[in-house]
Amino acid sequence: MTVDQRQLDIAGLNLDDDDPLEVILDEPAKPPAVVEKLIEEAKAALTAQEKSEKRSLSLVVVGHVDAGKSTMMGRLLYELGQIDEKKRVANERGSAKMGKSSFSWAWELDGTQEERERGITMDIALQTLNTPHRIITILDAPGHRDFIPNMISGASQADSALLVVDAAVGEFEAGFDRGGQTREHLLLVRSLGVSQVIVAVNKLDQVEWAKSRYNEIVQLLKPFLVQSGFHPSRTKFVPVVAMEGVNLTRREPADCPLFKWYEGPTLVDLLDALDPPTRDINAPLRFPISNIFKGTTSGITVSGRVCGGIVVAGERLRIVPGDESATVKLIDNDGESLPWAGAGSNINLILTSVDPVSLNIGSVLCRPGSIIPLTFSFIARIIVFDIQIPITAGTSIELFHHSLDVPASISRLISVLDRSNGNVIKSKPRVLTKNMSAEVEISLRGSLYSGPASRALPIPIEPFSVNKEMGRILVRRGGETIGAGAYHPLRAHQLRLIIGRLGVVMELLT
């Protein structure tokens, strides 16, 4: 009897059409009963909190270099009584000693030696503000263009933004012109999902408290904000002088020329009215790590933002990428230990029984059983920013995803899309120019120049449709943000194409 070898092969490979593939999935490991109970409790508590008075949110402070971001935050902390007099005097003395007394307020946030010497913020500083109705986690971002990676890491942990602009003549223009950080920061925070912004027009004392200057700046910023995708009803403007503390918490000093024409709310009034984010507490747990350090307690502390789900003290979490796991010993929020923390909270986790080597900035903590996928290359839908040099296939880029900054390249330009409805305008474009919306394939770069060892390390990323916060990406090139977008998995017709190709390969094999 003759046997059709091909038939046999296909049968062996389970490729028969009439015998549909049976997908056998492992039952995900259930979390221990105690943990499960805590999760239930947390969910109930969080839903209750939604209705409560005091709600928490996180705010990233952005703006051009030297706009006065750190100073404003330092002063605000003082006004709200979170810095005591003793500390203020110490900062004042210390900064005067270095000959930089104008930085005395910023010293509270710019903690490292180098930052203080240079008088510039280089990395995100985390603080908590207590306003009457909100608990606000503040992420003070660096304004200098070389530290935008750090700023991105901060902005991806925030759900609202405070933009600080310098009203001084020439300074505002420098920040707002092409290549200034006012523009880039706004685009970045919007691309990272922040939709409400407060614009603080700072240093009004340097323009003689002129109302006309304030209005001019507001008029210049408004159209740009709309163009960047901020809804006018969710953008607020406020004039302040951070250094002197004018119009931060109260309308004082009363004789200040500002109040001759300004009637509106103070900065804190606006902060107090910010909308807290909606929290996706039912999603699987994702905790991207943005900082790792050895705290005062035993074990290793990692900080970051819960980007979905709930983390519970005592549970064991997987570290992705890698095969390691760690036990959450404590959940720490500004010195307070919590039994659990839900999506949207910026917290520290103290981990035990883990080798510090397996923890990296950019790793994601997940519950075993619902692990975030890893990928070397993926398809993203991006919006191209205002760029000079067009994007070609093969453009070398830096890919930003949460606190991760990895070299990558745009390996394929798949199609140009219509910005309004997402229809394909042109497939396989030769180049992407400014303000286009496109579908591209992004591949991570290997580490070596050639040879088989040139493999890249995969990064954890999830489709935008599954978890918005874990799907957003930013694309930079040569110190300039050239695009923003999100990971969209293959469309149906592309899948079919690939399956078709596989079929051809099978033909060749048999």
Binding site: L109, N291, P390, A393, P407, V431, L448, R476, G478
Partner: protein, 422 residues
């Protein structure tokens, strides 16, 4: 590389004998030797003899073998600069070949030990002669150009580059045709926490220390062939790194390093990744010093291409098909082509690219063959490996339409001819 002998016939067949000396020569050989060539070089082979009584006696002997090549593989240096850190005087030592080129094929000339047709893999050795024989048409202008280029004595400068970011550093060594990544260093530095910054500072000092030891191990700073040591980084890391290296050198009174102080160049780049090398190399500080080196030329030309793409899209084309069309129209002013394209195992594909190159040269255009072992070459590879800056603007769509029409025309004519024949 030393050229020992060369005998090329008019039809492009013939042989070249060379003696490779360092890593870069190995890279040249990898680019010259093609599938189907015959390569004769020294190698080790295990010979087994079965005596009449049945006992097997095996020994390794050294012999010259000629192979008909079926595969060439390249592996970059495994332990680069490993020898340079052993003794204090060692950084001055000339680089030793550690990269490997392996030539696999069947033995083409029989001798008393090895039968004709037996398989063998030759590991090309430094300082031993290698004879490469190609069939008719094998020694085209590109291959010969490569041989010539590789045998120029006293080749260009070497440059060491350290691309650093806070907590990371990548040590690279650039020579005329190669960029070797010597080491990647990563020291976890806790990011600042506004209240307590000591952890951050401690991490930083650990980072500087590690960086200094790797610097000593990898950078042949005292070697006279090393022209410059580039420290590139965003922010102010480069200043801090330079200061820490110098401070450590004077603390340990490392005279050689202190003497090399003026070799250091600090450059600003935007990201701490290897691909910033291109950015570093086109910065004015470096470009003015090493204009004549290949990697600087490549970087500048690639930059020019991208700028052209931005200002006048119709004068910057890429992709093999498009560039071929532009070459047909004599529009190419500068051709940027990666050496990877010439490594194609398919002779026809190689010939196609060689023809484009020769065509452009004949019409007075400039041809720049990028080395894919450089960062710029790697970026060109990602851009399909071939690109051109045109002397006059051409619209791709129009040209493609013309081609289509011409093809249709021809088909119609063919059809008509067939029609008249029958």
């Amino acid at each position: 590389m030393k050229l020992i002998g060369k005998r090329i016939e008019k039809d492009g067949s013939g042989r070249v004998t060379v003696r490779p000396e360092d890593d870069e020569d190995m890279w040249h050989l990898y680019n010259i030797i093609q599938e189907g060539d015959r390569v004769r070089a020294a190698g080790m082979r295990r010979i087994q003899n079965v005596s009449t009584t049945g006992s097997v006696d095996s020994k390794r002997i050294r012999l010259n073998l000629t192979l008909a090549v079926t595969r060439v593989t390249w592996s970059p240096s495994s332990a680069p600069g490993a020898e340079s850190g052993t003794k204090s005087g060692a950084p001055n030592a000339a680089p030793v070949a550690t990269a490997k080129v392996e030539v696999t094929g069947r033995v083409a000339e029989e001798n008393q030990h090895v039968k004709l047709g037996a398989f063998h893999t030759l590991d090309i050795e430094a300082n031993k002669d290698v004879r490469i024989e190609k069939d008719a048409g094998g020694w085209d202008s590109v291959a010969l150009g490569r041989v010539e280029e590789s045998c120029v004595p006293g080749r260009g400068a070497e440059v060491a580059a350290i691309v650093c970011g806070e907590g990371s550093a990548i040590f690279c060594l650039l020579s005329e045709h190669m960029t070797t990544v010597l080491q990647r260093l990563e020291v976890p530095i806790p990011r600042k926490i506004s209240t307590q910054s000591s952890a951050h500072e401690k991490g930083l000092s650990r980072y500087y220390q590690t960086l200094y030891t790797s610097f000593l191990r990898h950078v042949p700073y005292a070697s006279p062939s090393l022209r410059a040591i580039v420290i590139a980084s965003p922010g102010w890391t480069r200043d801090a790194v330079f200061d820490s290296i110098m401070a450590e050198a004077s603390r340990t009174s490392n005279k050689a390093l202190l003497a090399a102080r003026n070799k250091f160049i600090k450059v600003h780049v935007n990201s701490p990744h290897v691909h910033s090398l291109v950015e570093a190399l086109k910065s004015p500080e470096i470009a003015s010093q090493m204009k004549e080196t290949k990697f600087a030329r490549e970087g500048m030309m690639l930059d020019k291409f991208f700028k052209m793409l931005a200002t006048d899209e119709m004068r910057a084309w890429y992709g093999p098909d498009h560039v071929a069309l532009a070459a047909d129209r004599g529009a190419i002013g500068t051709l940027l082509i990666s050496d990877e394209l010439f490594r194609s195992s398919d002779a026809a594909t190689r010939k196609k690219y060689v023809n484009i190159v020769e065509d452009v040269q004949q019409k007075g255009g400039k041809v720049l063959i990028f080395s894919s072992m450089h960062e710029s070459g790697r970026q060109l590879n990602q851009l399909t490996g071939i690109a051109a800056i045109l002397t006059f603007p051409l619209d791709i769509e129009v040209v493609e339409a013309e081609e289509r029409e011409a093809k249709e025309e021809e088909e119609r004519r063919n059809a008509e001819e067939r029609g008249t024949e029958t």
